[in-house]
């Protein structure tokens, strides 16, 4: 047990450990925000508006006197939730496309490869704007838009992985042994492709959070008074000259979360071990 723990710690490295602690804090903020910030994120107090950071208000207050630290903590659920949902959609679509392409007939693979290539020609935000133009703005639309925009990326990664696994020795051996295709899938292909997906997904959630907050910044995402980080950043930017904390601190939350997720995702996928 101790040896396992030591191995994990060594693999994580000092940066990874910090990131893991950060992730723990973020997860705590998502599931039990009241532990970190017991106040009400929607409670207004106009007389205390625009207070700079202090002991009473570690992150200061916003234009309606709401405590910014409380809002950032409670906003973790909104932002991370939206990021997770978008990633879920992206991975779901990517799974379907990736598996269908790698395991299905040749013509399907070629067709899917072409479609994925085409979707790559549309940058994420451009595709999101296209979807918003048709569906209309809102949280739902931004989740679908970012999910659809990131699906080609996941599809490509999955297809490559699945093909690699399908061509591997142990699958060939299992087939040779007469194991049925469903069992081969369940015992060999699925575990070897889905576990590494966790690492990619971790990275993906971080990036999705940034994209979703970009849509909120453009006015196409979460609605007031939701404490979603991107929306808070958008609202705070108006007062950036006089109340810098309203913009800088939620932005730091986004950067910190995305960084933590990226570091952990890299470590988990092994890319981090070669000195990067």
């Amino acid at each position: 047990m101790a040896a396992d723990a030591a191995r994990i710690l060594r693999r994580l490295g000092p940066g990874g450990v910090v990131a893991a602690l950060g992730l723990a804090a973020i997860l705590l903020a998502v599931v039990a925000p009241g532990v970190l910030a017991p106040g009400d994120p929607l409670a207004i107090a106009p007389t205390e508006a625009f207070s700079p950071p202090s002991w009473a208000h570690p992150f200061g207050t916003d234009e309606s006197g709401r405590d910014l630290f409380t809002r950032v903590v409670h906003g973790a659920a909104a932002s991370a939730g939206i990021g997770l949902a978008a990633t879920g959609i992206g991975i779901g679509a990517g799974l379907v496309l990736g598996f269908a392409g790698a395991l299905g007939p040749r013509w399907l693979d070629a067709a899917i490869a072409r479609v994925v290539e085409v979707l790559f020609a549309l940058p994420t935000l451009v595709m999101a704007l296209l979807l918003v133009a048709v569906i209309g703005p809102g949280t739902q639309a931004s989740v679908i838009a970012i999910g659809a925009a990131t699906a080609p990326g996941y599809a490509r990664i999955l297809r490559a992985r699945v093909r690699g696994v399908v061509r591997s020795d142990y699958v060939a051996y299992a087939r040779h042994e007469g194991v049925g295709p469903v069992a081969v899938f369940a015992r060999h292909i699925a575990p070897n492709t889905l576990w590494p997906l966790v690492a990619t997904a971790t990275l993906g959630v971080g990036q999705a959070i940034v994209w979703v907050s970009a849509l909120s910044f453009l006015g196409l995402g979460a609605l007031p008074p939701s404490p979603e980080w991107g929306a808070m950043l958008n609202a705070g930017r108006v007062y950036i000259g006089t109340a810098w904390w309203m913009t800088v601190l939620p932005g730091l939350a986004i950067v910190a979360t995305a960084t933590v997720l990226t570091v952990l995702g890299r470590r988990a996928s092994g890319a981090g071990s070669a000195g990067s």
Binding site: V118, L122, T150, G206
Partner: protein, 352 residues
């Protein structure tokens, strides 16, 4: 030996053409495919999301009179069967009849044509800056860590800082970065303008920097990996053993190999830049394709959105084509048909 006469006609024809022509036709095919998919997707999405007439006329509050409604109905053939409408739409897109923007009552092609140069200027400058930063950063990282003693340790610490900066650059939201830059350089120090249009150098600095930094982060990581790999490769080792100095080794051998991944990522980078342009143009009040697309999306101006998206997709295909051509020139290894295909997108970026 397989009997080639049993192959289908197109395959036989294809093999008869010279390699470069086949490649070019492939690229054109990609472009056509892109346009077709976009047109189809928008057509069905439009029909699926409610009354297409409302969206065509510019949203629910368009206050369009009965004449405009009748005209739109006739132009879009909304009384005809779905298949006919679909084919008509494809024909319109194929002949670049992108229609008129209903919010602005001007031809879509004109609007896009007017705004495109500004965005392209930003994108090209940002890409150049990103390359420069990436190559500089990876070169420093690769060479600073060498040596022993306090110089070596300081160098390695600097490398660690650089790696951290790269990481943060890749996850930093561009609108936040831009807002902070405006706060520092425009509002507080007042040495750079907050808004700009056109090609004035002072006004380009902040937007270009904001656009370039996330791309520079990705490119730097990729360049550094390639540089380290090239540094350890046989020809570099041989060159050193023959007494060549470090700078010489760098310039003559490794740098060229290190810049290859950055080059092949340029297609993805360009896409990312166009995404970024939407945010940056909104933030710095610059006119451009990004801002046009944003306004069009917000006012549900579908002809304009379709036009802008088609243009963006085509640009991407053009850039990828150019990059492929340049790659073939720069790296002869890629000219053989079974050559390893260089990475087109950074391994760990799921979107652009």
């Amino acid at each position: 030996m397989p009997d080639s006469s049993a192959d289908p006609l197109p395959a036989r024809l294809a093999r008869g053409l010279p390699a470069w022509l086949r490649w070019l036709l492939g690229r054109i095919g990609s472009a056509l495919l892109v346009i077709w998919v976009v047109a189809t997707a928008v057509f069905f999405a439009l029909r699926a999301s409610g009354d297409p007439l409302e969206a065509i006329l510019g949203g629910p509050g368009s206050q369009a009179g009965p004449e405009a409604v009748a005209q739109a109905r006739a132009e879009y053939g909304l009384d005809h069967p779905l298949v006919v409408q679909y084919l008509a739409q494809l024909w319109r897109v194929a002949t670049f009849q992108l229609g008129d923007s209903y919010a602005r009552r001007q031809p879509v092609a004109e609007l896009i044509g007017a705004q495109l140069p500004g965005t392209l200027l930003l994108a090209v400058l940002a890409l150049l800056l990103a390359w420069a930063l990436a190559v500089a950063g990876s070169t420093i990282a690769a060479t600073a860590g060498a040596g022993s003693g306090w110089r070596g340790r300081a160098g390695r610490a600097a490398v660690g800082v650089l790696r951290g900066l790269e990481l943060v650059a890749t996850v930093m939201p561009q609108f936040w970065l831009g807002a902070v830059l405006i706060l520092v350089f425009a509002s507080s120090l007042q040495i750079l303008p907050a808004t700009s249009s056109g090609a004035g150098p002072a006004g380009l600095v902040l937007p270009v920097v904001t656009l370039a930094i996330p791309i520079a982060g990705f490119l730097a990581q990729v360049s550094r990996d390639a540089l380290l790999e090239a540094d350890a490769s046989p020809f570099a080792v041989t060159a050193r053993s023959r007494g060549a100095s470090e700078p010489r080794v760098l310039l003559h051998h490794t740098l060229r190999h290190a810049s290859l991944p950055a080059l092949s990522l340029s297609g993805w980078a360009f896409g990312h830049l166009l995404s970024g342009a939407v945010v940056v143009e909104a933030l710095f009040a610059r006119p451009g394709l990004g801002r046009l697309l944003l306004d069009a999306a917000m006012s549900r101006d579908v002809p304009l959105v379709i036009g802008a998206v088609v243009v963006v997709a085509l640009l991407y295909v053009v850039v990828v084509t150019v990059v492929d051509a340049v790659e073939l020139v720069v790296d002869p290894r890629l000219r053989t048909p079974r050559a390893p295909h260089a990475m087109r997108t950074p391994e760990l970026a799921v979107g652009s």
